[in-house]
């Protein structure tokens, strides 16, 4: 189901700002597979609101610091 999304994220930079956390570490903390974290980082999958909050909570940042809603379709 290929649909354009306006949702972007800063997960990659947040991971590096948090002691170069690996995708596997983040996946373990959120309770998802590493493949899902990769897909989110690459913009191939937009997480649910609940998963987005869980990811932001891992980095101890507000939701809109981890995820942004762009003006342009990607």
């Amino acid at each position: 189901m290929v649909k354009p999304t306006r949702v972007t994220n800063s997960i990659r930079s947040l991971r590096f700002a948090n002691g170069e956390m690996t995708q596997a570490d983040l996946a373990d903390r959120v309770g998802v597979t590493r493949q899902t974290i990769i897909a989110i980082e690459q913009g191939r999958y937009s997480p649910s609101l609940e998963m987005a909050f869980q990811i932001a909570r891992v980095f101890r940042v507000p939701l809109d610091e981890a995820f942004q809603y762009s003006d342009e379709l990607r």
Binding site: M1, V2, K3, T5, G31, V32, T33, Q35, T36, A39, G43, R44, Y45, S46, P47, S48, M51
Partner: protein, 142 residues
Amino acid sequence: MTFLEKSNWVVLVVGVPTLLVYVALVVPQVLGKPIAEVSWVQPMIFAIAGFIVANVLGNVVAAASNPGEADRNDQRDREIDHFGERVGNWLMIAGSIAALVLAMTMADHFWIANAIFLGGMAAALVSSVTKIAAYHGPFQTW
């Protein structure tokens, strides 16, 4: 690769040869003699049983290759699974409708059984291809 993706690869790796062997055994007969004389029941039973057993064994091997991931799936896995199943269901329904029409028109059992069989095999294969494509491309459920 998640366990669920591996599981879908197992369906493809097992399903395609199964279908090809069945077709290779039955189609030459269909072309060469009357339908009533075609030996299709045994090949179909072996194809269905072989497909199920090989799938189970393939999943066991896939799980054994990475036991930690075997029971792990998340929201994305479930969404991809549901999406693929929905696509496959349309083929299953198409096969069933074809079987219904064949039964209503008093077609030979051969055609009715094969419409159901091919609908089921096509559903399994297309569903797996859809899921694998969803794992590797953009995927949104909304």
